[in-house]
Symmetry: C2
Subunit: 223 residues, 2 copies
């Protein structure tokens, strides 16, 4: 079974360490802060207080034996990069690193870190999109070219059967699910996944559509 090391026990790092441990994986958690190490000690296989820029200390903690290292040292780009270089020298096959800025992210990527995460930036984009386009209830980019969007059923298809709405022929998009409004007496809205063409879409329902970004954008303009 895979062994993990989490270096930097901020909110991101400690949560990764916790979830992996909960799932019975071996996790070495390190941080230079004693309180952070103590806080997680009973949840992981091994928790060590050390400065991760100290290669000798990392070796003593057994870091070179892990399959995956997650580096989440914030605030200090230099330390983050130094630690990543040490891990590469130690031969760690897979490194995931949290970036604290676009520049930091670019440096990490150039250093060959294939998974660079930007938690705050990604959430900010999600929140901002939601404020700018509240009609998009959910947007999933399936690929750079195709997306899945959930939105309230547009007025022009309310009362129609999916077959009648003819979305694919008219707009190039497919309805893959319908969320029927919360009817009286029911606790939560009911989902109709991969609905029959005879399904009627009512006011108050939302539809989940799949299509190319270009077609989705055109569709958006007419709703």
């Amino acid at each position: 079974k895979k062994q993990f090391a989490v270096i930097g026990l901020g909110r991101f790092g400690s949560e990764v360490a916790r979830i992996l441990s909960e799932n019975k994986y071996s996790v070495i958690a390190v941080d230079r802060s004693e309180s952070k190490v103590k806080a997680i000690a009973d949840q992981v296989s091994l928790a060590v207080q050390l400065d991760a820029t100290d290669e000798k200390a990392l070796r003593e903690a057994g870091i070179q034996n892990v399959d995956v290292a997650i580096v989440s040292i914030g605030e200090n780009i230099e330390a983050s990069i130094l630690v990543v270089m040490i891990l590469k020298d130690l031969g760690i096959k897979k490194i995931i690193a949290k970036a604290i800025s676009e520049l930091h992210g670019r440096v990490l990527t150039q250093l060959g870190i294939r998974r660079v995460v930007h938690p705050e930036r990604d959430m900010a984009q999600k929140v901002a999109l939601n404020l700018i386009r509240p009609e998009i209830l959910e947007l999933i980019e399936l690929s750079p070219e195709f997306s899945i969007v959930e939105l309230p059923a547009p007025e022009f298809i309310q009362g129609k059967k999916i077959l009648e709405a003819n979305m694919r022929a008219l707009h190039g998009i497919t309805i893959i699910a319908v969320k029927h409004a919360n009817d009286t007496g029911r606790a939560s809205p009911s989902w109709n996944i991969n609905p029959y063409p005879s399904t009627v879409i009512n006011k108050g329902d939302s539809i989940v559509i799949l299509g190319s970004n270009r077609d989705l954008e055109k569709f958006r303009k007419i709703t």
Copy 2:
């Protein structure tokens, strides 16, 4: 057009302020750190250095006139909560707040904050899931009951037409897209969205499936 206030210009807050401003929205950005205010001043309508727990200072900055306030003060739960209370007293209709712990999140929710975000926690869950279940290339929870999963085409459907694979009858799930492997000469894999039943699924392709979580879990066990 809506007016926004962003209180706390850490990575999350400053990115929200930046994106909203880029989209031509009026943004008042405040922080107690002069350097953070200066860094964003030329990108937003108004950037003010102030302590957001000072109601008078917030009023002077015109915060009471915004439609939406985004509060992203980390490290200090007390300040975050105090600011949220002031904003509610000022009558701000919509408040979004970043939480730095589960407890912080629960307090904010109880205070009536309908959108509470946990950027680091959510990204940690995504990263951890990806490490624990690398075969799931992408997982989207459409609702508590249904998900969309992208995974490599399982061995038992390779070489078959979608029609022959009979996924819906046998497994209760629908293939909504197929990503054909990168063929020689092509720069990137090609997507087949809402594929015809005659589409053949080959080794190296990945499929995007939609179904109930229960059916997806059963399917996962046999792949």
